[in-house]
């Protein structure tokens, strides 16, 4: 018995349901939690902290998209729209109405969820390809509304986003703890990483309980799911609501962190595609894959542009004549190649790579 336990064999159904199955994963989670506090307080490079922060805000939205696409199987190219909804909710409730931080963040999520609930029923009528194109339309209609609803969105020229980010006496924009003051990046790190952890836990709990299994049944074969008593309406729309709420939540954070948004540059089709790329690269149908994917997709372009001078054939000025590959173009190509290569060669993404490594060491020395 003890020997089997050491091999991480699952012996009871309760064991299988556990969130953290082994001593190791509990230790790893603890280590990550400690790192989450220690890293921002000791590491001060604002550039990389900013990259990590933006990546992790994207991770919240990506977890939402992964619930919708990875678990419920509904293709959506409209995620950027909900991110935008969240940002403008933050402008309206946070900045204009000056609600406190927890309230306006909640308002973002609620507004996103409500709009997701309105859009969701389309998914009942349309499947696969049709749904993808309709959700694409959502992005364009969204940009049009954002551009014309000037009182909130500032019109095509954009708007500043400055909702309050204070919790009691803590102002995350200029955090001071125990007599030390920290940069904005450090403060935000301490604000959003716990939010990601909570989001991940929330969605993990959704997917390992009845709603999650129902969604996976809908994904695998919706007719079969309906036959065994899963309500398609309930779980498809439910997935849309939760996914949109998380997207809007991420959008609120994104707006408040980047402080300025324009409808056409901030919430366009490439943003939707970036979110899909995150879940593809991270791993469709895994929660922690969304986080890894967000850091990967957010980090790679920054690394490339940071070290572009040592990459051959890459020029730094966009106006050279003739064959001229700029960092921007190189990053686009890398982005495209990542999507294609992952889908062709490793459809389950970085998460699958990690699972393979884990499986190897789990059963070591009998790994074959």
């Amino acid at each position: 018995m003890a020997r089997l336990r050491n091999l991480n064999m699952t012996l009871k159904y309760e064991d299988d349901l556990r969130l953290f199955k082994s001593r190791w994963s509990r230790a790893a989670i603890l280590a990550l939690l400690v790192l989450m506090v220690v890293l921002p307080l000791s590491y001060t490079d604002t550039f990389w902290l900013r990259v990590l922060n933006l990546a992790v805000i994207a991770a919240i939205g990506a977890i939402g998209l992964n619930l919708l696409t990875g678990f419920a199987g509904q293709v959506s190219l409209g995620h950027a729209f909900f991110i935008g909804v969240g940002t403008y909710a933050a402008v309206y409730f946070g900045e204009d109405q000056s609600w406190p931080l927890p309230l306006w963040l909640l308002a973002c999520a609620v507004i996103g969820g409500v709009i997701g609930g309105i859009v969701g029923p389309f998914a009942l009528r349309l499947r696969g390809n049709y749904l993808a194109v309709v959700s694409l339309g959502l992005v364009f209609l969204g940009i049009h509304v954002f551009k014309n609803w000037e009182s909130v969105t500032g019109g095509p020229g954009g708007t500043g986003v400055n909702p309050p980010v204070t919790l009691g006496s803590l102002d995350f924009n200029e955090l001071s703890l125990f007599g030390y003051t920290y940069s904005r990046e450090q403060g935000w790190f301490l604000l959003i990483w716990p939010l990601v952890a909570v989001t991940a836990l929330l969605v993990k709990n959704i997917v390992r309980t009845r709603p999650g299994r129902a969604m996976q049944a809908v994904r695998d074969r919706d007719v079969a799911a309906e036959v065994i008593g899963v309500s398609l309406a309930r779980y498809k729309i439910g997935a849309f609501v939760v996914s949109s709420a998380l997207a809007a939540f991420a959008g609120g954070l994104y707006g408040a962190y980047s402080q300025f948004v324009t409808p056409e540059n901030s919430f366009n089709l490439p943003l939707s595609i970036t979110y899909i790329a995150i879940i593809i690269v991270g791993g469709v149908g895994t929660i922690f894959g969304s986080i890894i994917g967000a850091i990967f997709i957010g980090g790679v372009p920054e690394i490339v542009s940071k070290y572009s001078h040592s990459i051959p054939f890459v020029s730094t000025s966009p106006s050279e004549a003739g064959f001229n590959l700029t960092v921007f173009q190189l990053n686009q190509i890398i982005f495209g190649v990542l999507i294609v290569v992952f889908l062709v060669a490793e459809p389950l993404g970085l998460a699958a790579v990690w699972f393979r490594i884990k499986a190897y060491f789990k059963s070591w020395p009998f790994s074959y």
Binding site: G73, V133, V134, L141, L325, F328, V340
Partner: protein, 298 residues
């Protein structure tokens, strides 16, 4: 009335461009079941190839179009062979994303080679117009409508009468039965991508001709052709043409009248009008005007 006719003519010209792009989508979708989001990128490559063939290689303009169509068609077939063939049997979502990934690869490659600036295509039409009654028709628009109609007629004849065209229809109808009858499904897949590349090239050339020149944003027309294919039905070539022309007319008429009669809809509403029409149509007919209703057996 004169304004209305003038707008209709412009709409017909835009619509035949949409129809060409939509036809490319539908041909690929019908044969392989893939929505090709890279259709706009193929159009971009095609437009630049035509520029290159005419201006750099010095081939006469009217000959440069078919040459570019051939080259871009070959590119389409290569993409199908190298990448898309590996995706057969994968979920819809994965295949869509592969084609989107292709956009992100093709677009920067084009701008790396030819740059971001607009390039004069060197077409003989320029900004000339001809008079018809009290209408002024741009020569380039007349050519667009004419060429698009000719190419579409040629393809419909090809599907109807040629051996390969019949093979393509058979494969689209029932892949297994077609293979059992000795039709090479692989060749059909590659051919459908080649045709899509060729019609996209023509659309790219016609978008660049008549003054505006070849520029990276011609590819975005593909995004407006999506509503057209949804309107017509994803798997109906005829529907693609009808849908494209309806969308073109709707869009130019909206651009002409909406600022005067429905200003509250906001500036630039014609840009999203196709999507509004698409959503309305889908609420009534989820498979478009001419699309095959999906039959799901339990």
């Amino acid at each position: 009335m004169r304004d209305f006719l003038q707008l209709c003519f412009a709409g017909l010209s835009v619509g035949s461009l949409y129809a060409l792009v939509a036809l490319g989508f539908v041909i690929i979708f019908k044969a392989t079941g893939v929505i090709n989001f890279a259709q706009g990128a193929l159009l971009l490559v095609g437009g630049y190839l035509a520029y290159n063939v005419h201006n750099t290689w010095g081939v006469p303009f009217y000959l440069s179009i078919p040459v570019a169509m051939l080259l871009c068609g070959a590119l389409g077939a290569v993409i199908e062979r190298v990448i898309l063939r590996r995706m057969v049997g994968q979920p819809v979502f994965a295949v869509i994303m592969v084609t989107i990934g292709l956009v992100f690869i093709l677009d920067p490659v084009v701008t790396t080679i030819w740059g971001f600036d607009r390039l004069e295509l060197g077409d003989p039409w320029g900004v000339e117009t001809i008079g018809a009654g009290d209408l002024r028709l741009a020569v380039k628009d007349v050519w667009t409508i004419g060429l698009a109609a000719a190419v579409m007629a040629a393809f419909f004849a090809f599907f109807r009468y040629s051996r390969l065209g019949v093979a393509m229809r058979a494969t689209a109808f029932d892949q297994e039965a077609a293979i059992a009858n000795g039709i090479s499904a692989r060749r059909v897949f590659a051919l459908s991508w080649a045709i899509a590349g060729a019609v996209a090239t023509l659309a790219g050339v016609m978008m660049s001709a008549g003054g505006p020149g070849v520029r990276p944003d011609i590819q975005f027309i593909a995004l407006f052709a999506f509503p057209a294919i949804i309107l017509g039905g994803l798997d109906s070539p005829g529907g693609a043409v009808v849908g494209g022309i309806i969308m073109g007319l709707t869009q130019t008429l909206t651009a002409g009248y909406q600022p005067r009669y429905a200003e509250w809809l906001g500036g630039g509403f014609d840009g999203v009008m196709p999507y509004v029409v698409m959503v309305l149509i889908l609420l009534v007919r989820p498979y478009g005007l001419f699309g095959t209703k999906e039959v799901r057996r339990v």
